[in-house]
Symmetry: C2
Subunit: 543 residues, 2 copies
């Protein structure tokens, strides 16, 4: 059972040091503190446990340290920044684990860029030693990359030449799409095991600059000084603490305060229920600051995030989650109104951005989602996004019971998908006018109106409801889980693609393909044979 | 050895009937006329041989029948339009063959859309019976879809529920991106083995209309009449004939008039040489019409297309092609000038569009390409695109020999990549101004200038040249062919994505992944067990 919750006082592999507007996030991987047996995390290589700490640190910076303007990402080990994902860990992991591991590390790197883009925090990769593979991919997720010029340290993506796999944590995509390295140079770099350093690395756009060892710290400090002095008066806010998320669990349940998971293992599906907020929650930023991480939107979506990660990694046989909500629509809409009205306040902004990231995690989860809308549910505004994220929406039609859904201002752009569209825009690609029509509706939609508006897939009446839901679940969970993963990855992301979707679509899909190829993972494969006296042997047929 | 050349008089599976401005392209698959042993092409199911004829028919329409304004795609078999790719063929094919088969069928469907978009020919799918799987994917590549309402005929994508694989010929992408079917409805449709018909198929946007059997032909005729009467006076041109491409071949050579392939089998690479045009080619449309398919741009690029397909399918162990040219830069530029000056003439337009398709086929070929630029080469204008398509460009630097490359007007937009950018735009994403700078240069670039301009990856001098090329080839062909395929698919397509690139990137990569999964192709897999008394058994772990 992998636990995704941690906090700085529990970190084994990272040190987070805050000094006014500057954070130093330093990698110092303890090679024996691994998540599984059979490998050592030498040379600041990482496994999922290391990345869980990194993800936590980035999340905490946003809520606990709003005063931080610059984050220096560096290493406490001499001459090595980071050697990337541990190869022996990859070599001994199941295919499914490798895929989930890469997805999580990708989400962590996208979270760095989300912070930079939306919260203006500047990430500076201070490479005091070699950054290879995932090490360079971590650097390239930062805004700026500086490399020590010690005659030895280099940046490299040695996956293709050494391991027969891709730099699968966004490296190839970010090379050409973010840093816009010329494609032929990207080709040379990505096949050069030893990588590049100094002038050529800078000329080709792989790093922003390099400095001799004796001047390195000084140069980084100077750059950090420039960044934090750009807006010296801003950001004197004091953060809020992110406390651990308590939950109770049994073999087939996991209950947080606002989120419950109920597993139906034999039927391979789960009910995932989100409870709406209490009535009369505070409406001013000061009161909300006071309330801190207990405030519903932050707490509920953090819990949802943890539940999704748990389902992904610890419950692989669960193929379908039925998304349900419980609560009062008006209470959700009241919270949405407060968030929308105060979105310029740093804490409301961070909450909205955090909710958006959780919803994107949902979009990217390789499980089917059905929204099940029944009386006493509260699929409104931010929680309506759960239905809009779902592969299908079932809504009970019963004239004797009130059952409704509602939109809020938050459905209009605050919670975008990875492709840059809102979920309503994605839904109504064929009829873009419907987006505004649906948003303009002041009253909740009853079942008939929701179906008419295109928000609902099926609206069985009370006589058919139970049978229809049961059959839909049975049918879904009987299908090939692999075909469903590929199908959902295609149907969920209609419309434009962005660097993020290219990483999760094009790059990840190819990497997953390669992660199954005998040339990588077979007995003669390059990944299998790395570090052994035996050499990889390839079937050279091009596919 | 698979032969990609054919012509209507040789067709086994299609009938192409031209009646003034209307072409009828009718599928009538002969079940015993298969490309390989072990399966029968029942119910208008297809193998690569069937699709080679379809691709040929579409290409011929463009050159031989410019007068055609509407193409009715239908079936000569009662109650069945097309059952899609033959499942037993897929079940008995190697992974590499499946991947190449799907790529070719995708290119054929994109060629239909290219014709519609750029040449204004309207494709009307007249589904006189059920269109399932690849059958519906063929329909959805057309502009309009009409389904007979006979109480039985349906459209369907049964791959996920029946076979545990994806509709991999663009179906999922076109559902949500082209026809913009709502994602939840697309989800339902793609998991419903029996598909949909009549009103619901129309309401959901899967078809444009349906008509009862007795009225079907009349309705199609009426629609075709509308299409051809839109511009009754246009397009009275007479086409040119596409003659067979003669070539001589030995075990390790294949020589067309303008294209030569030389295989270095033990070293797993090929030299692929394109010879430039003769001097003093005609410059007026009338003269070029007279010259027909012997005119260099058409002939040379048709030959290149055939050579690429041959390398893809018949020479899987060749991992790298060294692209070379021979001829006079001025002669290439003269042809480019003629094409650009007359691009409003239908034949010049078709030639340019055909060249663009061939170059996109090159971009999408799963082999590495190095351009090798030596004296007496002619990488200019349209042939410079070969260098710009390459993963790397090597150019000899020798002060004693003239060696140059040049741009033409055709590098400015006539030959776009699948992502909608020119290859110069893709190359200079970081410095967009360079595109115009390079295009503005009137004289050819010598090696130094080409390197300075960013057109060249490496420019070794004459002392190092041979060693450097030899080492680069050896190094490239030693790498994992699978990792290279994934790497090249990522680095070649920086920048925006389009429906085409989503099909070749996201959808195809996932399909290739699934095509390796035991749940599809293992002994208990759904594809393996289709039609057998045994049932598929899945490992239900979600990945």
């Amino acid at each position: 059972m992998i636990n995704f919750q941690t906090s700085p006082d529990q970190y084994k592999h990272w040190k987070l040091k805050i000094d006014g507007p500057v954070a130093q996030l330093s990698m110092d991987v303890q090679e024996d503190q691994t998540l599984a047996e059979g490998y050592k995390l030498k040379l600041n290589s990482y496994d999922l446990g290391v990345d869980i700490e990194l993800a936590d640190a980035i999340q905490r910076l946003r809520f606990e340290h709003p005063e931080v303007r610059a984050v220096v990402v560096t290493s406490l080990k001499p001459r090595i920044f980071c050697a990337g994902a541990n190869i022996y860990m990859l070599g001994t992991s199941s295919h499914a684990f490798k895929v989930n591991f890469c997805k999580f590390t990708n989400e962590t790197r996208c979270a760095i860029e989300d912070d930079s883009r939306h919260s203006g925090r500047r990430y500076i990769a201070a490479l005091n030693g070699t950054a290879s593979g995932g090490g360079y991919e971590l650097a390239i997720a930062c805004d700026e990359i500086y490399l020590v010029d010690d005659g030895n340290s280099a940046v490299s993506l040695p996956e293709v030449p050494l391991l027969g796999v891709l730099p699968g944590t966004g490296g190839l995509t970010r090379l050409v799409d973010k840093r816009k390295v010329r494609r032929d140079r990207a080709d040379v770099f990505s096949t050069l095991a030893e990588g590049l350093k100094g002038k050529r690395a800078k000329d080709w756009g792989l790093i922003d600059d390099s400095f001799p060892t004796s001047k390195f710290q000084e140069a980084i400090d100077a750059r950090v000084g420039q960044v934090v002095n750009l807006h010296p008066d801003e950001n004197t806010q004091i953060g809020i603490k992110l406390n651990p998320l308590a939950f109770e669990s049994t073999d087939d349940t996991r209950d947080y305060k606002y989120v419950s998971v109920k597993l139906h293992r034999e039927k391979r599906y789960a009910d995932l229920t989100v409870r709406g907020p209490e009535s009369d929650l505070p409406t001013t930023p000061d009161e909300i600051l006071e309330m801190g991480d207990a405030y519903w939107p932050l707490r509920a979506f953090r819990e949802l995030d943890d539940a999704l990660l748990h389902l992904r990694v610890n419950e692989p046989e669960i193929g379908l989650a039925c998304l349900r909500t419980e609560g009062d629509i008006d209470d959700v809409l009241a919270v949405d109104k407060t968030l929308a009205a105060n979105r310029d306040h740093w804490l409301m902004r961070e909450m909205l951005l955090s909710m958006a990231r959780v919803l994107r995690r949902l979009d990217l989860t390789a499980k089917s989602f059905f929204a099940i809308i029944e009386p006493d549910s509260c699929f409104a505004g931010s929680l309506l996004e759960l239905a809009l994220s779902s592969d299908r929406v079932y809504m009970l039609s019963d004239p004797n019971q009130r059952n409704s859904v509602a939109t809020s201002e938050l459905n209009a752009g605050a919670l975008p998908m990875s492709n840059g569209l809102t979920r309503l825009q994605s839904r109504f690609l064929a009829e873009p006018d419907k987006v505004d029509e649906v948003l303009a509706q002041e009253n909740p939609f009853d079942t008939e109106a929701a179906e008419e508006a295109g928000l609902v897939t099926f609206a069985p009446d009370d006589l058919d409801w139970e049978d229809e839901i049961r059959l839909a679940i049975e049918e879904r969970t009987s299908l090939s889980p692999d075909a469903l993963t590929g199908m959902e990855a295609s149907l969920r992301f209609a419309g434009p693609e962005t660097m993020d979707t290219k990483i999760y679509g094009r790059l990840t899909a190819w990497q997953n393909w390669i992660f199954q190829r005998p040339n990588a993972v077979g007995p003669q494969g390059a990944l299998t044979n790395y570090g052994k006296p035996t050499q990889a042997q390839f079937d050279y047929k091009r596919t």
